[in-house]
Symmetry: C2
Subunit: 226 residues, 2 copies
């Protein structure tokens, strides 16, 4: 009887509605006795279910089945190359543009960059089996780059960053947007087509490193299991 067995049994009781949404369940001590395991084992199982949003736990108050479960799904956010290769396709990319320029005010603002400071702008087209897969536009603070700059035509910016710049925190946003003229041209779709967009901001402890927009080709779906 391992902690996964305990979790499975608890999950079964929730699904079978032995324990109803909003109802308290027995405390760890009692469950440990019932299953004949140590309390730590029950704790591990219940903690896991709480992390995925099925249980709500509070000290002293006890454990209850979530009434309106906020399901937590984990999204895997791979490097594009891995994503394409996982589909059994060949990944390639073309660096379309690379120049120093003034970032738009909203971008500079969100990243805490002083307005009027030029940053590196990079534009890349990712291909899967030779067909457009995603249009990447990126603002990057060149402070984090060595001199001379890496050759981003041969190694993708993202992969260079993850292997050469300190791991970082950040946030990710997903949205639907109409294709602007540039993305439409690059991806070979009509202007105004509905495209899935991923925006990612990455920070080190002190300052913003980079802001990327990934505009995916039509038909892109992000899938997860619950």
């Amino acid at each position: 009887m391992g902690w996964e067995d305990v979790r499975a049994e608890v999950l079964r009781r929730i699904r079978a509605r032995d324990w109803l949404p909003g109802a308290m369940i027995p405390n760890e001590e009692a469950l440990a006795q019932e299953f004949g395991v140590a309390r730590a084992t029950v704790n591990r199982a219940l903690r896991d279910l709480a992390e995925s949003g099925l249980l709500e736990r509070r000290r002293k108050a006890g454990t209850r089945v979530a009434a309106l479960p906020v399901r937590r799904a984990t999204l895997e956010i791979p490097v594009i190359r891995q994503e394409v290769e996982a589909r059994g396709q060949v990944h390639a990319f073309r660096l379309l543009d690379e120049r120093m320029a003034l970032p738009p005010v909203p971008v500079a603002g969100q990243l805490g960059w002083a307005s009027g400071a030029a940053k590196l702008y990079l534009e890349t087209l990712h291909l899967a089996d030779g067909k457009p897969y995603a249009h990447e536009t990126r603002w990057l603070d060149p402070v984090h780059l060595p001199d001379p700059r890496p050759d981003f035509a041969s190694i993708s910016v993202n992969e260079w960053l993850v292997t050469h710049v300190a791991f970082a925190t950040g946030d990710i946003a997903f949205a639907a947007e109409a294709a602007d003229p540039r993305s439409a041209e690059v991806l070979g779709v009509p202007q105004g087509a509905a495209l899935f967009v991923t925006e990612r901001t990455t920070f080190t402890a002190e300052s913003a490193i980079t802001f990327v927009r990934l505009i995916h080709a039509p038909g892109y779906r992000m899938v997860t299991m619950v």
Copy 2:
């Protein structure tokens, strides 16, 4: 020195590039000695970092910093009412349609429903502060409903399901789609507008319960931290 402190210190070393991507880190025993804690405490910390994709662990092979980290972000998928209320707005909904009908072949196929069997079709408009927030279309197997059916005009289908039907597994997909005539009319946007769509399929152990499409009003963004 708790496990969160251990995690913080390990994370610091990864970010500071003391431990490079792809490199091995000391084993649990050694770290436990260094930090003056039990091995279980180190284990908890390293396991947590491995779950979020920053470390790769294999028995006997040891622990290494992920070379190309597949970042795992957790998405919270709340009930719409909670989502709207969390934004400080008032949630309301209108049941637009409720009837028995034949589900389209792709829907029936994905859910494993026999073709030719009529199911319940429900169409709902969710409002935030009186403005269109999301257009919900749903196919539901009436097997899971009591007779007579609940009054879905007064309690939203989703909330009725989570509180009255056994918890279930399922999958969720996100995509960008152009507004079809019906969604455009209901949400008050031009046809072809880029809309964010969430599709969710829910199963019990045996059979499919429901398939929902949530078509969000323009401007909808799904955000997560890493």
